[in-house]
Amino acid sequence: MRGLSGNLSRVGLVRAYSTANPTVSSTLILSRNPVITADVPKFEAQYYKYQNELWRRLMWTFPKWFYFREGTLAEQRFRQLNKDPVADNPNIEFPRGRPQIRHKRDRRFKQELKLPKTYKEADELEPAELEQAQDTITEDDLARKIVPNSRTTKADQENDLTSLERKLSRTLYLTIQNGSTWILPNFPEPSSEQVTALHTLAEEGLYKIGGEKINYFNVSNTPCHVYNNSKDNKKEYFIKSHILSGDFQPQDKSMKFLWLTKEELKTHLDKEYYQDIEHLLSEI
Protein backbone atom coordinates (compact mmCIF):
# COMPACT_ATOMS: atom_id res chain seq x y z
CA MET A 1 0.00 0.00 0.00
CA ARG A 2 2.79 2.36 1.03
CA GLY A 3 4.80 1.59 -2.10
CA LEU A 4 1.77 2.16 -4.29
CA SER A 5 1.03 5.63 -2.93
CA GLY A 6 4.73 6.54 -3.27
CA ASN A 7 4.67 5.54 -6.93
CA LEU A 8 1.50 7.49 -7.58
CA SER A 9 2.87 10.70 -6.14
CA ARG A 10 6.07 10.37 -8.18
CA VAL A 11 4.06 9.98 -11.37
CA GLY A 12 2.06 13.07 -10.45
CA LEU A 13 5.22 15.12 -9.92
CA VAL A 14 6.64 14.33 -13.34
CA ARG A 15 3.33 15.05 -15.05
CA ALA A 16 3.15 18.48 -13.51
CA TYR A 17 6.11 19.56 -15.63
CA SER A 18 6.02 17.56 -18.82
CA THR A 19 5.40 14.22 -20.38
CA ALA A 20 8.75 14.10 -22.24
CA ASN A 21 12.06 13.72 -20.41
CA PRO A 22 13.37 17.15 -19.44
CA THR A 23 16.83 18.26 -20.62
CA VAL A 24 19.41 18.41 -17.87
CA SER A 25 21.39 21.63 -17.85
CA SER A 26 23.92 23.34 -15.66
CA THR A 27 23.54 26.97 -14.56
CA LEU A 28 26.60 28.78 -13.30
CA ILE A 29 26.32 31.24 -10.44
CA LEU A 30 29.60 33.02 -10.99
CA SER A 31 30.07 35.67 -8.33
CA ARG A 32 32.71 38.21 -7.53
CA ASN A 33 33.06 38.40 -3.76
CA PRO A 34 33.25 41.76 -1.98
CA VAL A 35 36.72 43.26 -2.20
CA ILE A 36 36.34 45.80 0.60
CA THR A 37 34.39 45.88 3.85
CA ALA A 38 30.62 46.21 3.72
CA ASP A 39 29.03 49.64 3.85
CA VAL A 40 27.94 50.32 7.41
CA PRO A 41 24.50 51.91 7.86
CA LYS A 42 24.55 55.26 9.66
CA PHE A 43 22.96 53.97 12.84
CA GLU A 44 25.40 51.07 13.04
CA ALA A 45 28.33 53.41 12.45
CA GLN A 46 27.15 55.64 15.28
CA TYR A 47 26.79 52.63 17.55
CA TYR A 48 30.35 51.50 16.78
CA LYS A 49 31.62 55.04 17.34
CA TYR A 50 29.90 55.22 20.73
CA GLN A 51 31.21 51.82 21.84
CA ASN A 52 34.68 52.68 20.59
CA GLU A 53 34.73 55.92 22.55
CA LEU A 54 33.57 54.05 25.68
CA TRP A 55 36.35 51.53 25.18
CA ARG A 56 38.95 54.26 24.83
CA ARG A 57 37.59 56.04 27.87
CA LEU A 58 37.92 52.89 29.99
CA MET A 59 41.40 52.00 28.73
CA TRP A 60 44.36 51.74 31.02
CA THR A 61 46.81 54.62 31.05
CA PHE A 62 49.48 54.24 28.38
CA PRO A 63 52.67 52.94 30.08
CA LYS A 64 54.91 55.64 28.71
CA TRP A 65 57.72 54.67 31.09
CA PHE A 66 57.92 51.28 29.38
CA TYR A 67 57.73 52.21 25.71
CA PHE A 68 59.71 55.44 26.03
CA ARG A 69 62.55 55.02 28.48
CA GLU A 70 63.53 58.15 30.37
CA GLY A 71 66.50 59.99 28.98
CA THR A 72 66.23 58.60 25.48
CA LEU A 73 65.82 60.69 22.37
CA ALA A 74 62.52 59.00 21.58
CA GLU A 75 61.16 59.96 24.98
CA GLN A 76 62.18 63.56 24.41
CA ARG A 77 60.30 63.66 21.12
CA PHE A 78 57.28 62.00 22.73
CA ARG A 79 57.33 64.58 25.53
CA GLN A 80 57.43 67.44 23.05
CA LEU A 81 54.31 66.17 21.33
CA ASN A 82 52.38 65.18 24.45
CA LYS A 83 52.16 68.01 26.93
CA ASP A 84 51.21 67.19 30.52
CA PRO A 85 47.58 67.92 31.42
CA VAL A 86 46.71 70.85 33.68
CA ALA A 87 47.67 69.87 37.22
CA ASP A 88 45.18 69.93 40.06
CA ASN A 89 45.73 72.98 42.27
CA PRO A 90 43.66 73.12 45.49
CA ASN A 91 43.84 76.94 45.46
CA ILE A 92 42.19 77.23 42.06
CA GLU A 93 38.53 76.76 41.21
CA PHE A 94 37.96 74.69 38.09
CA PRO A 95 34.58 75.61 36.63
CA ARG A 96 34.51 72.47 34.46
CA GLY A 97 35.41 70.08 37.24
CA ARG A 98 38.58 69.33 39.16
CA PRO A 99 41.16 67.35 37.18
CA GLN A 100 41.98 63.87 38.48
CA ILE A 101 45.59 63.37 37.49
CA ARG A 102 47.08 59.87 37.75
CA HIS A 103 50.39 59.13 36.05
CA LYS A 104 50.11 62.38 34.11
CA ARG A 105 46.70 61.47 32.72
CA ASP A 106 43.39 63.10 33.46
CA ARG A 107 41.21 60.17 34.46
CA ARG A 108 38.01 61.96 33.50
CA PHE A 109 38.72 61.70 29.80
CA LYS A 110 40.13 59.25 27.30
CA GLN A 111 43.86 59.48 26.77
CA GLU A 112 44.91 60.86 23.44
CA LEU A 113 48.47 60.22 22.35
CA LYS A 114 50.41 61.88 19.60
CA LEU A 115 53.23 59.88 18.10
CA PRO A 116 56.10 61.33 16.08
CA LYS A 117 55.23 61.32 12.38
CA THR A 118 57.54 60.44 9.52
CA TYR A 119 55.90 63.04 7.29
CA LYS A 120 54.40 66.51 7.54
CA GLU A 121 50.72 67.29 7.14
CA ALA A 122 49.73 69.63 4.31
CA ASP A 123 48.85 72.47 6.72
CA GLU A 124 52.21 72.20 8.48
CA LEU A 125 54.22 72.74 5.31
CA GLU A 126 55.39 76.08 3.90
CA PRO A 127 53.95 76.93 0.45
CA ALA A 128 57.37 76.50 -1.13
CA GLU A 129 57.85 73.14 0.57
CA LEU A 130 54.40 71.98 -0.48
CA GLU A 131 55.21 72.01 -4.19
CA GLN A 132 58.49 70.28 -3.56
CA ALA A 133 56.87 67.62 -1.39
CA GLN A 134 54.33 66.75 -4.06
CA ASP A 135 57.12 66.08 -6.53
CA THR A 136 59.33 64.04 -4.25
CA ILE A 137 56.73 61.69 -2.66
CA THR A 138 56.74 58.35 -4.45
CA GLU A 139 54.84 55.09 -4.05
CA ASP A 140 57.74 53.19 -2.50
CA ASP A 141 58.62 55.92 -0.01
CA LEU A 142 58.12 54.17 3.35
CA ALA A 143 57.88 57.48 5.21
CA ARG A 144 54.93 58.75 3.16
CA LYS A 145 51.53 59.32 4.68
CA ILE A 146 49.28 56.32 4.17
CA VAL A 147 46.02 57.38 2.60
CA PRO A 148 43.35 54.72 1.99
CA ASN A 149 42.11 54.33 -1.56
CA SER A 150 38.66 55.55 -2.50
CA ARG A 151 35.77 53.14 -1.93
CA THR A 152 34.23 54.15 -5.24
CA THR A 153 36.04 53.41 -8.48
CA LYS A 154 36.04 54.77 -12.00
CA ALA A 155 33.56 52.06 -13.01
CA ASP A 156 31.15 53.31 -10.32
CA GLN A 157 31.31 56.87 -11.57
CA GLU A 158 30.73 55.84 -15.17
CA ASN A 159 28.14 53.26 -14.06
CA ASP A 160 29.89 50.61 -16.14
CA LEU A 161 27.83 47.49 -15.40
CA THR A 162 30.25 45.20 -17.27
CA SER A 163 33.22 46.08 -15.09
CA LEU A 164 34.42 43.78 -12.33
CA GLU A 165 35.64 46.81 -10.42
CA ARG A 166 32.24 48.26 -9.71
CA LYS A 167 30.56 48.16 -6.27
CA LEU A 168 33.61 46.83 -4.43
CA SER A 169 31.68 46.29 -1.21
CA ARG A 170 29.02 44.08 -2.82
CA THR A 171 28.82 40.60 -4.33
CA LEU A 172 28.39 40.75 -8.10
CA TYR A 173 26.84 38.03 -10.24
CA LEU A 174 27.44 37.33 -13.91
CA THR A 175 24.31 37.60 -16.05
CA ILE A 176 24.05 37.19 -19.80
CA GLN A 177 21.38 38.12 -22.27
CA ASN A 178 19.42 35.27 -23.79
CA GLY A 179 17.23 36.64 -26.57
CA SER A 180 15.23 39.37 -24.89
CA THR A 181 15.63 38.15 -21.30
CA TRP A 182 18.51 38.18 -18.87
CA ILE A 183 19.56 34.88 -17.27
CA LEU A 184 22.42 33.38 -15.32
CA PRO A 185 24.62 31.52 -17.85
CA ASN A 186 23.00 28.16 -18.60
CA PHE A 187 24.57 25.23 -20.46
CA PRO A 188 22.43 22.23 -21.50
CA GLU A 189 23.83 18.70 -21.81
CA PRO A 190 24.97 18.24 -25.43
CA SER A 191 23.09 14.96 -25.84
CA SER A 192 21.21 12.53 -23.65
CA GLU A 193 23.61 9.64 -24.51
CA GLN A 194 26.84 11.41 -23.64
CA VAL A 195 26.60 12.51 -20.02
CA THR A 196 28.94 15.18 -18.66
CA ALA A 197 29.29 16.10 -14.98
CA LEU A 198 27.43 19.28 -14.10
CA HIS A 199 30.51 21.20 -12.92
CA THR A 200 32.49 20.18 -16.04
CA LEU A 201 29.58 21.28 -18.19
CA ALA A 202 29.54 24.65 -16.43
CA GLU A 203 33.31 25.09 -16.77
CA GLU A 204 33.43 24.18 -20.47
CA GLY A 205 30.47 26.44 -21.15
CA LEU A 206 32.00 29.36 -19.28
CA TYR A 207 35.30 29.08 -21.16
CA LYS A 208 33.38 28.85 -24.42
CA ILE A 209 31.38 32.03 -23.91
CA GLY A 210 33.81 34.03 -21.77
CA GLY A 211 37.28 32.99 -22.90
CA GLU A 212 39.88 31.10 -20.91
CA LYS A 213 41.29 34.13 -19.11
CA ILE A 214 39.16 33.46 -16.05
CA ASN A 215 40.61 32.06 -12.86
CA TYR A 216 37.68 30.79 -10.86
CA PHE A 217 37.01 28.63 -7.83
CA ASN A 218 34.28 26.03 -7.94
CA VAL A 219 32.78 25.75 -4.44
CA SER A 220 31.44 22.24 -4.89
CA ASN A 221 30.64 19.71 -7.59
CA THR A 222 27.27 19.33 -5.91
CA PRO A 223 24.62 21.67 -7.31
CA CYS A 224 23.08 24.03 -4.75
CA HIS A 225 19.65 24.36 -6.35
CA VAL A 226 17.44 23.02 -9.11
CA TYR A 227 15.07 25.12 -11.17
CA ASN A 228 12.37 23.38 -13.19
CA ASN A 229 12.10 25.38 -16.35
CA SER A 230 8.69 24.29 -17.65
CA LYS A 231 8.84 26.67 -20.61
CA ASP A 232 11.90 25.05 -22.22
CA ASN A 233 11.29 21.68 -20.54
CA LYS A 234 14.63 21.94 -18.75
CA LYS A 235 15.99 21.00 -15.36
CA GLU A 236 18.55 23.63 -14.41
CA TYR A 237 21.09 22.61 -11.78
CA PHE A 238 22.96 25.50 -10.15
CA ILE A 239 26.72 25.27 -9.71
CA LYS A 240 28.23 27.87 -7.40
CA SER A 241 31.64 29.41 -8.06
CA HIS A 242 33.65 32.57 -7.47
CA ILE A 243 35.79 34.49 -9.91
CA LEU A 244 39.25 35.02 -8.38
CA SER A 245 41.12 36.82 -11.14
CA GLY A 246 40.97 37.48 -14.86
CA ASP A 247 38.03 38.86 -16.72
CA PHE A 248 34.95 37.73 -18.58
CA GLN A 249 35.62 38.48 -22.26
CA PRO A 250 32.66 37.49 -24.46
CA GLN A 251 33.85 35.39 -27.39
CA ASP A 252 30.78 36.25 -29.41
CA LYS A 253 30.77 40.01 -30.14
CA SER A 254 26.97 40.20 -30.08
CA MET A 255 26.71 38.69 -26.59
CA LYS A 256 25.74 41.07 -23.82
CA PHE A 257 26.74 40.46 -20.22
CA LEU A 258 26.53 42.34 -16.90
CA TRP A 259 27.96 42.04 -13.42
CA LEU A 260 25.02 42.79 -11.11
CA THR A 261 24.22 42.94 -7.42
CA LYS A 262 21.20 41.22 -5.91
CA GLU A 263 18.91 44.26 -6.19
CA GLU A 264 19.91 44.86 -9.79
CA LEU A 265 19.27 41.20 -10.61
CA LYS A 266 15.71 41.66 -9.38
CA THR A 267 15.04 44.29 -12.01
CA HIS A 268 16.84 42.42 -14.80
CA LEU A 269 15.77 38.80 -14.33
CA ASP A 270 12.40 37.26 -15.04
CA LYS A 271 10.18 37.66 -11.98
CA GLU A 272 9.38 33.98 -11.46
CA TYR A 273 13.01 32.99 -12.14
CA TYR A 274 14.31 35.55 -9.65
CA GLN A 275 11.90 34.45 -6.92
CA ASP A 276 13.09 30.89 -7.35
CA ILE A 277 16.78 31.70 -6.93
CA GLU A 278 16.51 34.71 -4.61
CA HIS A 279 17.70 32.79 -1.54
CA LEU A 280 20.95 31.80 -3.26
CA LEU A 281 22.12 35.37 -3.66
CA SER A 282 24.08 37.28 -1.07
CA GLU A 283 22.58 40.37 0.56
CA ILE A 284 26.00 41.98 0.88
Binding site: P34, T37, Y47, Y48, Q51, T171, T222, K240
Partner: protein
Protein backbone atom coordinates in the same frame (compact mmCIF):
# COMPACT_ATOMS: atom_id res chain seq x y z
CA UNK B 1 14.35 13.45 82.22
CA UNK B 2 11.64 14.40 79.80
CA UNK B 3 8.49 12.48 79.13
CA UNK B 4 9.52 11.79 75.55
CA UNK B 5 12.55 9.82 76.64
CA UNK B 6 10.47 7.56 78.85
CA UNK B 7 7.97 6.94 76.11
CA UNK B 8 8.54 3.57 74.43
CA UNK B 9 7.90 3.74 70.72
CA UNK B 10 5.57 1.23 69.15
CA UNK B 11 6.35 -0.42 65.84
CA UNK B 12 3.24 1.27 64.42
CA UNK B 13 4.76 4.82 64.63
CA UNK B 14 7.98 6.28 63.29
CA UNK B 15 10.88 7.55 65.36
CA UNK B 16 10.70 11.04 63.95
CA UNK B 17 7.30 11.70 65.43
CA UNK B 18 8.51 11.79 69.01
CA UNK B 19 11.58 13.94 68.31
CA UNK B 20 11.83 17.64 69.00
CA UNK B 21 12.46 19.94 66.07
CA UNK B 22 16.14 19.36 65.36
CA UNK B 23 18.33 16.60 64.18
CA UNK B 24 21.69 15.64 65.62
CA UNK B 25 22.76 14.24 62.27
CA UNK B 26 25.19 16.56 60.48
CA UNK B 27 23.40 17.87 57.38
CA UNK B 28 25.08 17.17 54.06
CA UNK B 29 24.80 20.47 52.27
CA UNK B 30 27.10 20.10 49.34
CA UNK B 31 28.95 17.25 47.81
CA UNK B 32 31.20 19.72 46.02
CA UNK B 33 33.35 22.29 47.74
CA UNK B 34 31.86 25.72 47.54
CA UNK B 35 33.71 28.90 48.36
CA UNK B 36 31.07 30.48 50.55
CA UNK B 37 32.72 33.88 50.43
CA UNK B 38 32.05 34.00 46.71
CA UNK B 39 28.33 33.59 47.38
CA UNK B 40 28.21 36.79 49.41
CA UNK B 41 25.78 39.37 48.02
CA UNK B 42 28.72 41.77 47.94
CA UNK B 43 30.38 39.72 45.21
CA UNK B 44 27.27 39.15 43.05
CA UNK B 45 28.40 41.98 40.78
CA UNK B 46 31.48 39.99 39.80
CA UNK B 47 29.29 37.34 38.22
CA UNK B 48 28.00 39.78 35.60
CA UNK B 49 29.78 39.14 32.28
CA UNK B 50 32.40 41.68 31.27
CA UNK B 51 30.56 42.81 28.13
CA UNK B 52 27.56 43.92 30.21
CA UNK B 53 27.62 47.62 31.05
CA UNK B 54 26.58 46.89 34.68
CA UNK B 55 29.81 44.95 35.25
CA UNK B 56 32.64 46.61 37.17
CA UNK B 57 35.16 45.41 34.60
CA UNK B 58 33.06 46.48 31.61
CA UNK B 59 34.85 46.30 28.29
CA UNK B 60 32.90 47.00 25.11
CA UNK B 61 33.21 44.23 22.55
CA UNK B 62 31.47 45.69 19.50
CA UNK B 63 33.92 48.51 19.05
CA UNK B 64 34.34 48.36 15.30
CA UNK B 65 33.32 46.65 12.10
CA UNK B 66 34.73 43.11 12.17
CA UNK B 67 36.09 42.35 8.70
CA UNK B 68 36.87 38.67 9.21
CA UNK B 69 33.57 37.91 10.95
CA UNK B 70 31.69 39.70 8.17
CA UNK B 71 33.53 37.72 5.52
CA UNK B 72 32.64 34.50 7.31
CA UNK B 73 29.00 35.43 7.71
CA UNK B 74 28.43 36.79 4.20
CA UNK B 75 30.57 34.57 2.01
CA UNK B 76 32.22 31.70 3.76
CA UNK B 77 29.37 30.17 5.72
CA UNK B 78 27.15 29.28 2.77
CA UNK B 79 30.17 28.09 0.80
CA UNK B 80 31.29 25.76 3.58
CA UNK B 81 27.77 24.41 3.87
CA UNK B 82 27.72 23.50 0.19
CA UNK B 83 31.35 22.35 0.09
CA UNK B 84 30.92 19.93 3.00
CA UNK B 85 27.55 18.63 1.85
CA UNK B 86 27.31 14.93 1.07
CA UNK B 87 24.35 13.12 -0.43
CA UNK B 88 22.77 10.69 2.00
CA UNK B 89 25.31 11.36 4.74
CA UNK B 90 24.66 9.50 7.96
CA UNK B 91 25.67 10.19 11.52
CA UNK B 92 29.01 8.47 12.17
CA UNK B 93 28.80 7.40 15.76
CA UNK B 94 31.79 7.92 17.98
CA UNK B 95 33.10 5.37 20.43
CA UNK B 96 31.06 5.63 23.61
CA UNK B 97 31.57 4.32 27.15
CA UNK B 98 29.93 0.91 27.44
CA UNK B 99 27.58 -0.64 29.93
CA UNK B 100 28.71 -3.70 31.91
CA UNK B 101 25.31 -5.32 31.41
CA UNK B 102 21.94 -5.13 33.11
CA UNK B 103 21.63 -8.59 34.57
CA UNK B 104 22.68 -7.56 38.06
CA UNK B 105 22.23 -4.36 40.08
CA UNK B 106 25.98 -4.37 40.69
CA UNK B 107 26.61 -4.07 36.95
CA UNK B 108 23.81 -1.55 36.55
CA UNK B 109 25.28 0.99 38.94
CA UNK B 110 28.94 0.31 38.22
CA UNK B 111 30.93 3.05 36.49
CA UNK B 112 30.75 2.59 32.73
CA UNK B 113 33.38 0.55 30.88
CA UNK B 114 35.94 2.40 28.76
CA UNK B 115 35.21 3.01 25.09
CA UNK B 116 36.27 0.33 22.62
CA UNK B 117 39.74 0.70 21.01
CA UNK B 118 40.16 4.33 22.07
CA UNK B 119 40.29 4.92 25.80
CA UNK B 120 38.43 8.19 25.74
CA UNK B 121 34.89 8.43 24.38
CA UNK B 122 34.61 10.32 21.06
CA UNK B 123 31.78 12.47 19.78
CA UNK B 124 29.48 11.63 16.86
CA UNK B 125 30.16 13.13 13.44
CA UNK B 126 26.97 14.70 12.14
CA UNK B 127 26.39 15.62 8.50
CA UNK B 128 26.92 19.33 7.88
CA UNK B 129 23.67 21.27 8.01
CA UNK B 130 22.81 24.94 8.40
CA UNK B 131 23.23 24.72 12.17
CA UNK B 132 26.64 23.04 12.37
CA UNK B 133 28.69 24.78 9.71
CA UNK B 134 32.32 24.83 10.91
CA UNK B 135 33.20 28.09 12.58
CA UNK B 136 36.30 29.47 14.25
CA UNK B 137 35.53 29.74 17.97
CA UNK B 138 38.73 31.12 19.42
CA UNK B 139 42.47 31.13 19.08
CA UNK B 140 44.53 29.80 21.92
CA UNK B 141 48.14 30.92 22.12
CA UNK B 142 50.58 29.49 24.60
CA UNK B 143 54.26 29.87 25.16
CA UNK B 144 56.53 27.72 27.29
CA UNK B 145 59.52 29.41 28.86
CA UNK B 146 61.99 26.97 30.40
CA UNK B 147 64.29 29.72 31.65
CA UNK B 148 61.48 30.96 33.89
CA UNK B 149 61.77 27.75 35.91
CA UNK B 150 65.00 29.02 37.46
CA UNK B 151 64.35 32.75 37.42
CA UNK B 152 60.62 33.32 37.69
CA UNK B 153 60.87 37.01 36.75
CA UNK B 154 61.90 35.94 33.24
CA UNK B 155 58.28 34.94 32.75
CA UNK B 156 57.19 38.58 32.78
CA UNK B 157 58.53 39.18 29.29
CA UNK B 158 56.81 36.03 27.98
CA UNK B 159 53.46 37.24 29.26
CA UNK B 160 54.08 40.71 27.98
CA UNK B 161 55.05 39.41 24.57
CA UNK B 162 51.78 37.50 24.24
CA UNK B 163 49.76 40.48 25.45
CA UNK B 164 51.58 42.68 22.98
CA UNK B 165 50.66 40.57 19.96
CA UNK B 166 47.09 39.70 21.02
CA UNK B 167 45.81 42.79 22.86
CA UNK B 168 44.59 40.56 25.71
CA UNK B 169 46.22 40.16 29.12
CA UNK B 170 48.02 36.82 29.20
CA UNK B 171 47.70 34.34 32.06
CA UNK B 172 50.62 32.64 33.71
CA UNK B 173 50.94 28.88 33.36
CA UNK B 174 52.46 26.66 36.03
CA UNK B 175 54.23 23.33 35.84
CA UNK B 176 51.90 20.44 36.65
CA UNK B 177 54.41 17.66 37.13
CA UNK B 178 57.82 17.00 38.64
CA UNK B 179 60.16 16.01 35.83
CA UNK B 180 63.72 16.05 37.05
CA UNK B 181 65.69 16.08 33.75
CA UNK B 182 63.72 19.15 32.62
CA UNK B 183 64.15 20.78 36.03
CA UNK B 184 60.40 20.98 36.20
CA UNK B 185 58.84 21.32 39.62
CA UNK B 186 55.15 21.40 40.35
CA UNK B 187 53.74 24.89 40.76
CA UNK B 188 56.66 26.73 39.14
CA UNK B 189 55.61 29.39 36.60
CA UNK B 190 56.86 28.31 33.19
CA UNK B 191 55.16 30.35 30.49
CA UNK B 192 52.00 32.10 29.47
CA UNK B 193 48.73 31.47 27.69
CA UNK B 194 46.00 33.59 26.21
CA UNK B 195 42.68 32.82 24.55
CA UNK B 196 41.35 35.39 22.12
CA UNK B 197 37.84 35.72 20.74
CA UNK B 198 35.79 38.18 18.79
CA UNK B 199 37.41 41.25 17.34
CA UNK B 200 40.81 40.50 18.88
CA UNK B 201 40.78 37.13 17.17
CA UNK B 202 39.90 38.69 13.82
CA UNK B 203 42.64 41.25 14.24
CA UNK B 204 45.14 38.53 15.10
CA UNK B 205 44.24 36.46 12.04
CA UNK B 206 44.60 39.49 9.81
CA UNK B 207 48.00 40.35 11.23
CA UNK B 208 49.14 36.75 11.00
CA UNK B 209 48.04 36.09 7.44
CA UNK B 210 48.86 39.46 5.94
CA UNK B 211 51.92 40.70 7.80
CA UNK B 212 53.68 37.87 9.62
CA UNK B 213 53.45 34.62 7.65
CA UNK B 214 54.27 36.13 4.22
CA UNK B 215 57.51 37.50 5.65
CA UNK B 216 58.76 34.20 7.10
CA UNK B 217 60.99 32.82 4.36
CA UNK B 218 61.09 29.25 5.62
CA UNK B 219 57.36 29.04 6.23
CA UNK B 220 55.70 26.56 3.90
CA UNK B 221 52.36 26.41 5.66
CA UNK B 222 50.70 24.50 8.44
CA UNK B 223 51.28 20.77 8.22
CA UNK B 224 48.35 18.75 6.91
CA UNK B 225 49.01 16.25 9.68
CA UNK B 226 48.40 18.85 12.38
CA UNK B 227 45.18 18.51 14.34
CA UNK B 228 43.71 16.66 17.29
CA UNK B 229 41.08 14.85 15.13
CA UNK B 230 38.46 17.00 16.82
CA UNK B 231 38.78 19.97 14.49
CA UNK B 232 41.43 21.92 16.40
CA UNK B 233 44.57 22.78 14.46
CA UNK B 234 47.87 23.82 16.01
CA UNK B 235 51.09 25.17 14.62
CA UNK B 236 54.16 26.79 16.08
CA UNK B 237 56.14 29.95 15.49
CA UNK B 238 59.85 30.25 16.30
CA UNK B 239 61.22 33.19 18.31
CA UNK B 240 62.85 34.57 15.12
CA UNK B 241 59.48 34.62 13.39
CA UNK B 242 57.76 36.47 16.19
CA UNK B 243 59.64 39.66 15.53
CA UNK B 244 57.62 40.08 12.32
CA UNK B 245 54.59 41.04 14.38
CA UNK B 246 54.46 44.82 13.91
CA UNK B 247 53.78 45.36 17.62
CA UNK B 248 57.07 43.68 18.48
CA UNK B 249 59.01 44.83 15.44
CA UNK B 250 58.73 48.49 16.44
CA UNK B 251 59.97 47.83 19.98
CA UNK B 252 62.61 45.16 19.44
CA UNK B 253 64.88 46.45 22.20
CA UNK B 254 62.08 45.90 24.73
CA UNK B 255 61.91 42.20 23.90
CA UNK B 256 65.48 40.87 24.01
CA UNK B 257 64.39 37.31 24.84
CA UNK B 258 61.55 36.28 22.58
CA UNK B 259 59.82 32.96 23.11
CA UNK B 260 58.32 30.64 20.52
CA UNK B 261 54.56 30.22 20.64
CA UNK B 262 52.05 27.48 19.88
CA UNK B 263 48.93 28.75 18.16
CA UNK B 264 45.80 26.59 18.32
CA UNK B 265 42.75 27.36 16.23
CA UNK B 266 39.69 26.07 18.06
CA UNK B 267 36.91 25.37 15.59
CA UNK B 268 33.47 23.80 15.81
CA UNK B 269 34.39 21.50 12.92
CA UNK B 270 34.05 17.85 13.86
CA UNK B 271 36.93 16.60 11.68
CA UNK B 272 40.35 18.05 10.93
CA UNK B 273 39.63 18.07 7.22
CA UNK B 274 36.72 20.45 7.68
CA UNK B 275 38.78 22.60 10.02
CA UNK B 276 41.56 22.81 7.43
CA UNK B 277 39.06 23.90 4.77
CA UNK B 278 37.81 26.63 7.08
CA UNK B 279 41.27 27.89 8.00
CA UNK B 280 42.55 27.88 4.44
CA UNK B 281 39.52 29.96 3.50
CA UNK B 282 40.60 32.42 6.18
CA UNK B 283 43.99 32.73 4.51
CA UNK B 284 46.19 30.20 6.30
CA UNK B 285 48.21 28.01 3.92
CA UNK B 286 48.61 24.25 4.40
CA UNK B 287 51.17 21.81 3.00
CA UNK B 288 51.68 18.09 2.83
CA UNK B 289 54.89 17.12 4.69
CA UNK B 290 55.07 13.67 3.04
Amino acid sequence: MSIARQFVRQFSSTGVVGKPGYSTVEPVHHLVNIRKAALKPKYQGLLIPKDDIRSVGFKPTEIDQDRVAEYYQNTLKSDLLLHNYEHGAQVIEGEKKRSWGTDSPYKLYRNLKKAKRVGRATRDIHPIKHDNVPQLESIYIQSYNKWALEESWLNISTRLQLSQITNVKAKQIYAKANILPWRLREGKPCGAKVEIKGIDMSQFITTLTELVLPRIRTFKGIKNTSGDSNGNITFGLDPDNLKYFPEIESFQDLFPNLNGVHITFKTTARTDEQARTLLSALGLPFYDPN
